[in-house]
């Protein structure tokens, strides 16, 4: 830690000093990529959901023990890393100094394709091995819940990582050498500890910090008293308490705040206290730490239920988030957003936990049952101090669930936690039936709890309990993002049934099959192929030659190109309605933000320029599509303009402040069924006829008919669309993450009315594409080019994931109506098939491809 006006930390052993020069919302990722210039650490979702930004951090906050773990750099505030050591993939190995064993194994197993997710996986593994060098293969396989890979299908990645398992066998097994973990990083210098000086080298205790970041202040108190003083001094100001900052992944646009208080150094918030009747965890206990504590607790009488809590904690967010986020953070999300299905809260409510709340004005800590904390305690001026979990009585049974659309890292449809004391089928006390995801109010199913208390479990009692539960649960249905009310309702009932089945242990195994949750064993796969030695190196199985470079983060993608002088960053302003005419665009608020330079739109296209990025010789049937909506919006998410600002964050902020007024709005047609029902058809229709299907149908023994639906799909490349337009002396150089340089060049030239040879289109290494960087790279490139042409400055358009998903077209949803005729053996004679494809608003280009593949 440095003096009061700066922070110091190290990246890969190199010291960095940061003064009060960045906004409080600047992330560690911003700094690593844009200031330190280490582009091996990628960024995509900026919401801790994809993992490509993972880095390892080493610090001693939370006690005197220096620990290393991996976290999401994209949500970690820069000013929270004072005194930390950061390690990025370049720091653990590279082509010059030699690759790290993890990087080597990743390469060797062909665990990279586009390579954009790879550094994140590598750094996650690096952090995991620090936390436990003796991980089993199962533990390794469980630990990549924070990472998305769109290319490999994971098998090769998991195979590579599992070679580090303590139980790994076979030729590839690779126990990690302690040397490869830089075990003895000095918390002062970030360098390897020189052993001879170890005894003279105590850890520097943290100091308090007070930074003036102009728009806000950043404080780091050392204890609750200092914390209280900060609160007192800043009465009336908006205050944000910061720890892992992981909630910003979900609730992104809270703030801005006047005061940020980093709680990492508040010593009282790290306590851990076991007593005869309870265990107390300081509010700063990370979810990872909570899990570690419970690993020991679960063997202690009265705390056996911790095994179940651990199981549930493993599906709470991801390893990376659990390494950074703490108990208080999670519970405060629930407090601020009661409809949020917090797993921790659901569990703790059922368990009967309490929280300690520190009141900064009185300086006192009061204890509240967790339900009271949620429903009654106003938290303004207060800070969560601890969580206390009770020792269970004998025969108290605990079980909790998280039912999710994907096994890992997903919000629950419904989560539930049950505590029930049963002795020989008698429910001795009032149980706890706690549900999350039903609605903002529901915590306990109190009627069902009341009913079952004192009853002996029987078919009749179970039936009646479930009936009461079914009638008292009233799932909300106002959020289209939630699963249907019916599903959530039925699911909640079924989870109680599962629990009661487990408790009652019916003798009929057929019935008992409902009790267990699914357990996933370690996965494995066998790859079978033939090599042809005589033709080597052809027909030889070998990993990609750049694989080690992808693993070490040395491969350069479009957004890794260093900033050009006076570069501007672009953020799209996209339509928020599907059908409507633009009446007014008000960007006064956006442009008033210092550092926001310009808003460009269709009006800025110079004379001779074409507002169409789909003008392609190769696809003669293709319809026109505007780069910037000139008048009529055709879909929600369509690009209306581009904000240009000095930083990406400013551009994104300003883009949200542009106010568009629409007229002539109409209810949109969104689903293919609606389009069919309303006869919303393009003129184009594609027919393919072979034989005499109608006659054959008549002569068939059997006919079947039906209608099937197929949904759309997003590409989900880990690298979002990127275009960088750089004015040159005689044109514009456009760097693009495109699959289709030709059309990207054309759209760039067209929008400014210049010949094609005005544009040098440089196709960069692409971080995943899957067809999604063909047509739609052109809109990005055209927008960047226009921005660059208008401002005479380099312009980088690296769209956010949200804009990327909203703006671009996707795989088309289909409805297929079929009639098939077959003989008695099942041989098909005839198919009459009608397909309706949802093309979006403009005529299709790839639809004919369907016809080529229909007969499978």
């Amino acid at each position: 830690p440095g003096d009061a006006f700066q922070i110091q930390f190290s990246i890969n052993g190199e010291k960095h000093v940061v003064y009060e020069s960045y906004p409080a919302t600047t992330t560690l990722n911003d700094y690593i990529r844009d200031v330190a210039g280490l582009k091996g650490t990628k960024v995509m979702c900026r919401e801790a959901g994809c993992g490509c930004c993972a880095v390892a951090v080493t610090h001693a906050s939370g006690g005197d023990k220096v620990e290393t773990m991996s976290i999401n750099s994209c949500i970690t505030p820069l000013y929270s890393v004072d005194g930390w050591q950061i390690t990025t993939t370049e720091g653990i190995g590279n082509q010059k100094d030699g690759f790290h064993p993890i990087q080597k194994q990743v390469a060797k197993h062909n665990a990279t394709q586009c390579g954009y997710c790879t550094p994140g996986f590598v750094m996650s593994m690096y952090g995991l091995l620090h936390q436990n060098p003796k991980l089993t293969q199962q533990e390794i396989e469980d630990s990549f819940d924070g990472h998305i890979c769109r290319c490999t299908g994971y098998r090769s990645i998991l195979d590579a990582m599992k070679t580090f398992g303590s139980d790994a066998t076979g030729p590839n097994a690779k126990p990690i050498d302690i040397e490869d973990l830089n075990k003895h990083l000095c918390p002062k210098t970030g360098e390897k500890c020189k052993k001879d000086t170890k005894s003279n080298c105590p850890i520097t205790p943290p100091s308090s910090l007070s930074l003036d970041l102009r728009d806000s202040k950043w404080h780091r108190p050392l204890n609750l008293k200092e914390l209280g003083t900060i609160f007192t001094k800043n009465k009336g100001k908006s205050i944000r308490l910061v720890f892992g900052n992981t909630s910003t992944g979900i609730f992104k646009f809270d703030g801005p705040y006047d005061i940020y208080i980093d709680l990492h150094s508040v010593e009282e918030l790290y306590q851990y206290k076991e007593s005869a009747s309870s265990v107390i965890f300081g509010a700063n206990t990370t979810l990872t730490k909570l899990k570690e504590h419970m690993k020991n607790l679960q063997y202690k009488p009265g705390f056996f239920y911790c095994t179940r809590v651990i199981r549930h904690l493993k599906v709470l967010a991801s390893v990376l988030v659990r390494n950074a986020g703490c108990i208080a953070g999670n519970l405060m999300i629930k407090h601020n957003h009661p409809d949020f299905p917090s797993d921790l809260f659901t569990m703790m409510a059922a368990i009967g936990a309490s929280v300690g709340v520190y009141d900064t004005s009185s300086g006192k800590i009061t204890k509240h049952p967790i339900l009271e904390f949620l429903q009654k305690v106003k938290m303004a001026g207060k800070v969560l101090a601890f969580l206390e979990i009770p020792k269970f009585e004998e025969n108290e049974h605990y079980r909790s669930f998280k039912i999710t659309p994907r096994w890992q890292n997903a919000h629950a449809y419904v989560n539930a936690a049950f505590k029930i004391q049963v002795e020989k089928l008698l429910v001795k006390t009032k149980p706890s039936f706690v549900f999350g995801g039903i609605n903002a109010e529901t915590v306990h199913a109190t009627k069902a709890e009341e009913f079952i208390k004192g009853k002996t479990l029987s078919d009749a009692v179970i039936k009646e309990t479930l009936k009461i539960l079914a009638s008292e649960l009233k799932p909300s249905s106002d959020d289209p993002l939630h699963a249907s009310a019916k599903y959530r309702h039925d699911l909640a009932v079924n989870l109680l049934y599962k629990t009661l089945l487990e408790v009652a242990k019916p003798t009929d195994p057929k019935i008992r099959s409902g009790a267990d949750s699914m357990e996933r064993p370690i996965s494995s796969g066998l790859q079978t192929f033939q090599e042809k030695k005589s033709e080597f190196p052809l027909m030889q199985a070998m990993p990609k030659l750049e694989a080690p470079l992808q693993a070490s983060g040395e491969t350069v993608y479009a957004n890794d190109i260093p900033a050009f002088q006076r570069e501007l960053y672009g953020a799209f302003v996209i339509s928020t309605v599907a059908i409507g005419a633009i009446v007014n665009i008000d960007c006064s608020e956006a442009l008033a933000i210092p550092g926001v330079v310009k808003f460009i739109s269709a009006a800025d296209i110079p004379e001779g320029g074409k507002n169409n990025f789909m003008d392609v010789v190769f696809f003669p049937t293709i319809g026109a599509e505007e780069v910037f909506v000139s008048k009529n919006v055709e879909y929600a998410g369509q690009s209306i303009g581009l904000i240009l600002a000095e930083t990406q964050a400013l551009a994104e902020l300003a883009a949200r402040k542009v106010k568009i007024t629409y007229g002539s709005m109409q209810e949109p047609i969104i689903y293919v069924e609606d389009g069919v029902a309303k006869g919303s058809f393009f003129e184009q229709k594609f027919n393919k006829i072979m034989g005499q299907s109608e006659d054959a149908l008549k002569n068939s023994d059997l006919t079947v008919s039906g209608q099937i639906y197929e949904g759309g799909q997003y590409y989900y490349y880990i690298e979002n669309q990127v275009s960088v337009a750089v004015p040159t002396e005689d044109g514009i150089d456009v760097y693009s993450s495109t699959q289709m340089p030709d059309m990207t060049q054309k759209s760039s030239a067209d929008i400014i009315g210049k010949p094609l040879n005005y544009i040098n289109l440089i196709g960069c290494r692409v971080g995943g594409a899957f067809g999604g960087k063909a047509l739609y790279s052109s809109v990005m490139a055209a927008a960047a080019t226009l921005g660059s042409y208008v401002t005479k400055r380099p312009v980088r358009v690296c769209v956010s994931m949200s804009t990327n998903m909203k703006l671009i077209g996707k795989r088309f949803p289909l409805i297929a109506r079929y009639k098939a005729g077959l003989n008695r053996d099942g041989k098909m004679n005839s198919i009459d098939l009608e397909i309706f494809a949802d093309n979006g608003f403009r005529p299709p280009i790839m639809i004919e491809e369907l016809l080529h593949s229909l007969d499978q």
Partner: protein, 584 residues
């Protein structure tokens, strides 16, 4: 032959070294690539040497290194060899730090470390008859090549030492001399300009010795078709007599000489000098070639050219576009030239010797022919199509819209020698007491074949001539005698010509209707020839100095070394205090 010659004179003259003085110093930006290679932007005339140097220093294959050069802020030969070490150093630094490294030499370092034009001392014996017809020459050029011998060390002087004169017996020896200085390097017209100057000194000596008119003696010895040059070329299309005759008529030499003579009679301390110098520049190909491609964009028919030449101001890009537009029959604004890159222009040689533009143009013509042939079937499908329509059709017909060509031995142009011919008159007025002078008028007539772009060619001629003035009059080096350090390593000590050093009246004219049968579209090279012609002014000054010496009744030949600085001119006037009178 020397033994039987009626007259023999011998002498020693010096032609100094010269710094290229490109205003853009040597620079290289080296960016480590993600696959362990090096992307380089270098101010080089020879990208290949940069690649080879970096490959050797880093021990990585050449294919991992790429060099891009958009253009140079002047080259003048200094960036043929001397950019490679800068690339090497920057690449090593980039490799060691794993960060992009930009090395941009400061002027002093650049001048200290970079070799200069080879400094020559010519020792000669010339045998001739009473009229001044040269019978034999035995001459040696001692060339100061610096610390190492680079190349053969003769700098092709054999091709130029006889300039425009048919010398029946000629023994020419070049003796490289080792000195403790950077290895001398190419500076615009390397070897050429000193050699031509050397020859002019010899014939000047003959005329002075015989006390004959300098032009008449030169005219007696001029080459003609059928003569064989010292380099062994049998001359065809020799134009020198035509050029001299035309210039004589154009500037009315007899009248001018008379006027100078009258002036000198009437002025003791001001003297004028008038001189005529003919000049030949032999095109030497040396097997240079440049890989060149043209690409047509199907979307709008616009064209971009990627040629292997480096545009350092000579205007390759403009001429390339002119040729391309001419051959394809499309407007010039449809065509652009991209930076030279070793990725697409692999193996292109150094841009030098005035030949690059012609070779690039030749390649472009061939590319265009190739392309037009490929487009023909698509064109035939359309009625009266525009270029854009042809291209669109060809794209749909899956025609490769790129053409590539590299000039080769079988192309007659580069393998055949030809010469460009020129002649220049210069008149100066000298302040005998100070050595200061003014170049009052220069008339330069040059054979440029059919110029592809007369404006650019005149630019080359004028710029080359003034660079020659620097070589022969103002630029020179001084070294610390103990350490060998260059003392004249900046603008305060080293003096290229400025805007008031050019002739007060400077007329340039190209011969009309003289297409070059072996040049690209009838053109001739023009970049380097005029450097040697700068010596014409030196000889005009010598004539003025002779007039001053004549006042002392000293009419003997004397050596007049280059550079003829104000100091050396004044010293050569041999002023005698006894003559400093008021004329009473």
């Amino acid at each position: 032959a020397m033994a039987t010659a009626p007259h023999v004179v011998s002498g020693t003259v010096r032609c100094n070294d010269q710094y290229n003085f490109h205003l853009e110093n040597q620079a290289a930006l080296c960016i480590p690539t993600d696959t362990g290679g090096m992307d380089i932007m270098a101010t080089t005339q020879w990208q290949d040497t940069c690649i080879e140097t970096v490959s050797q220093i880093l021990g990585i294959p050449e294919s991992r290194i790429s060099v891009e050069t958009q253009r140079l802020g002047g080259g003048f030969g200094g960036k043929i060899y001397y950019n490679a070490p800068v690339c090497g150093m920057a690449a090593l630094a980039a490799y060691v730090t794993n960060r992009p490294v930009l090395m941009n030499l400061d002027l002093h370092t650049n001048m200290q470390s970079q070799g200069k034009r080879t400094h020559y001392v010519f020792e000669y014996q010339v045998g001739f008859d009473d009229d001044g017809r040269i019978i034999a020459i035995v001459a040696t050029g001692y060339g100061d090549v610096g610390a190492l011998l680079f190349n053969k060390g003769d700098e092709y002087t054999v091709g130029y030492i006889d300039n425009v004169y048919n010398i029946p017996n000629f023994k020419w020896t070049v003796q490289p001399v080792k000195t403790n200085k950077p290895v001398s390097t190419a500076v615009r017209a390397p070897g050429t300009a000193p050699a031509i100057y050397g020859m002019e000194c010899m014939i000047d000596h003959v005329a002075t010795y015989l006390k004959k008119d300098h032009l008449q003696v030169r005219k007696l010895n001029l080459m003609q078709d059928g003569d064989t040059t010292l380099a062994g070329v049998v001359l065809e299309h020799c134009l020198i007599k035509d050029v001299v005759a035309q210039l004589e008529a154009q500037v009315n030499i007899a009248q001018r000489l008379q006027a100078v003579s009258d002036f000198n009679k009437n002025n003791r301390w001001r003297k004028r000098g008038f001189h005529v110098m003919p000049n030949r520049y032999a095109m030497v190909w040396e097997g240079r070639f440049y890989t060149t491609s043209i690409y047509v964009n199907h979307g709008d028919g616009s064209v971009h050219i990627c040629h292997g030449g480096v545009d350092m101001g000579q205007g390759i890009n403009t001429k390339a576009i002119q040729c391309c537009a001419y051959k394809l029959g499309i407007p010039m604004d449809l065509i652009t030239v991209k930076p030279t890159s070793t990725i697409v222009n692999t193996n292109s040689k150094y841009s030098a010797g005035s030949t690059t533009t012609g070779l690039v143009c030749l390649a472009i013509l061939k590319c265009c022919e190739d392309l037009l042939e490929r487009l023909a079937p698509s064109k035939a499908k359309l009625v009266n199509p525009s270029w854009r329509e042809i291209i669109k059709q060809a794209y749909l017909d899956v025609v490769d819209l790129r053409a590539h060509y590299m000039p080769q031995i079988k192309d007659k142009y580069p393998s055949e020698h030809y010469s460009s011919w020129g002649a220049c008159t210069a008149e100066v007025e000298l302040d005998v007491l100070t050595g200061q002078y003014q170049i009052t008028q220069v008339d330069y007539l040059n054979d440029t074949g059919t110029s592809l772009n007369p404006q650019l060619d005149i630019g080359q001629l004028e710029g080359g001539f003034i660079m020659g003035l620097g070589l022969f009059l103002t630029e020179g080096f001084k070294f610390d005698p103990m350490t060998g350090q260059l003392l004249t390593d900046g603008t305060w000590e080293y003096k290229p010509p400025l805007g008031k050093d050019l002739p007060i009246n400077f007329n340039v004219k190209f011969m009309r209707n003289v297409p070059n049968p072996t040049g690209v579209l009838g053109s001739k090279i023009v970049g380097e020839a005029p450097v040697s012609t700068g010596a014409c002014v030196l000889f005009a000054l010598k004539r003025a100095v002779e007039a001053a010496r004549a006042e002392q009744n000293n009419t003997d030949w004397f050596p007049f070394h280059a550079p003829a600085t104000v100091e050396s001119i004044q010293t050569a006037c041999l002023n005698d205090l006894a003559q400093y009178t008021f004329g009473n």
